[in-house]
């Protein structure tokens, strides 16, 4: 059969809508992103390497960004799992409202959650004062970054897990119980392996979102170079110094990380679809 770009259809409007879609996307997304990648041709490879990979301040920022994102996503994997389980399996007063509130980080501007968390966890804040009494500094320190990144990642884990948990076949759990497994054994051997792809997808989504996050972290981190400075902030600092090349170099590294995460997430989703089939 000859190569055919599109299956025939009686519906009208494919040319118009596809044309506009590609035109708009090229103008707004592809050309600007391509412009950034092309910008790296203005520097030598050694310059790129030293400003994006070996500069100690940049390396420290990567460590803060990736480390805190990893911990935030892990916290979300544990508590998001419990939250999704409770929402799918149990009946309790206010369940619908709780289910709606989970989406709050999607809708709440990061600047708002940023100043709210900072005020909450500062040493005089509602929660921060209790940590202060035991000598733990949360706001303007590393734990604050983790808290901000946990907040924004939560809905990704819960919303990815919920459909997978609803698809669990209760019969399998019954079979497991009738064969003498304890509830804990059923959970570990039957439930967890089945929802594992969804859990990993949610973890990856929360991690990817956290690595790029700027607004909420900017307020709570304290932004001390080498210690609580995240990679996106360092891009902004380089730009304010009119160091376009330095900013571009870090930006391209972050872009590559985003692409890799997108790839991993797609593979995970393919895996979980195969699991469900």
């Amino acid at each position: 059969m000859a190569f055919r770009f599109r299956q025939p259809s009686v519906l009208p409007g494919f040319g118009l809508t596809m044309g506009f879609t590609l035109f708009y996307m090229a103008l707004l997304v592809l050309i600007p992103l391509g412009g950034m990648v092309l910008f790296t041709t203005r520097m030598s490879f050694d310059d790129f390497w030293s400003s994006a990979v070996t500069d100690p301040r940049v390396v420290a920022a990567y460590k803060v960004s990736f480390g805190a994102s990893m911990i935030g996503a892990s916290i979300n994997a544990v508590f998001g799992f419990i939250l999704a389980w409770v929402l799918v399996r149990y009946e309790f007063p206010g369940r619908r409202i709780v289910d709606s509130i989970v989406d709050l980080p999607f809708a709440l501007p990061t600047a708002v959650s940023g100043i709210a968390l900072t005020t909450l966890y500062a040493h005089t804040g509602w929660i921060g004062r209790w940590f202060d009494m035991v000598g733990i500094k949360v706001a303007y320190a590393w734990p604050g970054i983790v808290i901000a990144l946990t907040l924004i990642g939560l809905p990704f884990v819960v919303r990815t897990l919920q459909p997978a948990m609803e698809d669990l076949e209760v019969e399998l759990e019954e079979a497991s119980a009738s064969l003498g497994a304890s509830r804990w054994q059923t959970f570990r051997r039957v439930i967890l392996p089945t929802v594992l792809p969804a859990l990993l997808t949610g973890f990856a989504l929360a991690f990817a979102r956290a690595v790029g996050e700027f607004g909420s972290v900017y307020f709570i981190a304290g932004n001390m170079p080498y210690r609580t400075e995240i990679a996106p902030l360092l891009i902004l600092i380089r730009l304010e110094q009119f160091d376009y090349l330095g900013a571009t170099a870090i930006g391209v590294v972050m872009l590559v990380v985003s692409f890799v995460m997108l790839l991993i997430i797609n593979v995970l989703q393919w895996w979980s679809r195969r699991f469900q089939a």
Binding site: T17, F20, V29, A107, P109, I147, R183, G212, L236, Y244
Partner: protein, 300 residues
């Protein structure tokens, strides 16, 4: 990346029967842990915003919202959203129509490309436009010669916001339209409807709730975007400060009450977005149930 997760999801009632669920103490312990976690991370910050906004009385609250810089920030935010949301809505409808109703090669690649702005840091969203239009960017010298300002001016803010909110409407509509298939549209055409009649009378009514939620979410994100906008704005008070940037300026000036007053407006917008989402899901579930009932009564 929000779109990778279906945002139109709501759990049905808890359906595990007795006997194969956890013992009651475990159940209540898990519910307590879940609620405590949610309260600590989501509810407390929200309560704090409103408490701090009103803690010096209504007079101070409204004074903070009506002073000239705040008014200018609110105006700029509204202008930005008024440009971004309609454009991204038109794009979303076009993209959803071509992707959901037709089969063609490279569809998955196209969907991944549409998702890209979700995966990219908002700082990079700002950076790419500085590299294009900034003083030392690709078109910078030409723009300076012709006295056109994009970066540190409204066009830059609009562009960065458009980039960040680019996928929202499309990601809401694509799965919805895919699930609905093309039968109803084909019937409309067979009965003699023109393309536009089919779109306005069949397609649009079918997806209206999903479209409304996509638009509302796109709007909330457009009004609340901070990272991308702070790269391109230059923080010129009264001129290029949007509401989130105004919140930052006030907060760094230790004007906490005023800062939380402006923040409370955006928090309110977020709450309205969540309520709309719940209504949309409720309507969607009701219409779905009705369709199922009708199909069953036709069969009997």
């Amino acid at each position: 990346m929000a779109g990778v997760v279906s945002m139109r999801h709501q759990s049905g009632p808890g359906r595990a029967s007795q006997g194969k669920t956890e013992p009651a103490p475990v159940r209540w312990a898990l519910i307590t842990i879940a609620l405590a976690f949610l309260g600590l991370f989501l509810v407390m910050p929200l309560v704090l915003v409103f408490t701090y906004a009103f803690n010096r009385g209504l007079g101070v609250y409204f004074a903070a919202l009506t002073e000239p810089d705040a008014m200018a920030a609110i105006r700029l935010t509204l202008i930005t959203a008024a440009i971004c949301v309609p454009l991204n809505t038109v794009f979303g409808v076009c993209a959803a129509w071509s992707i959901a109703k037709f089969e063609f090669r490279g569809k998955n690649l196209l969907i991944t490309l549409i998702d890209m702005p979700f995966a990219i840091s908002p700082i990079i969203a700002g950076l790419i436009f500085v590299l294009l239009f900034g003083a030392r960017g690709w078109f910078g010298p030409w723009l300076i010669d012709n006295n056109i300002r994009i970066i540190f001016a409204t066009p830059g803010i609009v562009l960065a916001t458009m980039f960040v909110t680019f996928p929202f409407v499309a990601r809401e509509l694509i799965p919805l339209m895919q699930a609905q298939g093309t039968d109803e549209e084909q019937s409309a055409l067979t009965l003699g409807a023109s393309g536009w009649q089919m779109f306005w009378r069949v397609t649009l009514p079918n997806v209206k709730w999903g479209l409304i939620y996509g638009v509302i979410l796109c709007n909330a994100r457009a009004m609340g975007e901070f990272g991308a906008v702070s790269v391109v704005s230059g923080h010129i008070r009264g001129l290029t400060n949007t509401m989130p940037l105004h919140i930052e300026v006030l907060y760094n000036d230790y004007q906490f009450t005023a800062s939380f007053a402006v923040a409370s407006l955006l928090a309110l917008l977020a709450l309205v977005t969540l309520v709309v989402k719940s209504v949309v899901e409720w309507k969607g579930a009701r219409e779905h149930a009705q369709a199922v009932r009708e199909a069953e009564s036709e069969q009997s």
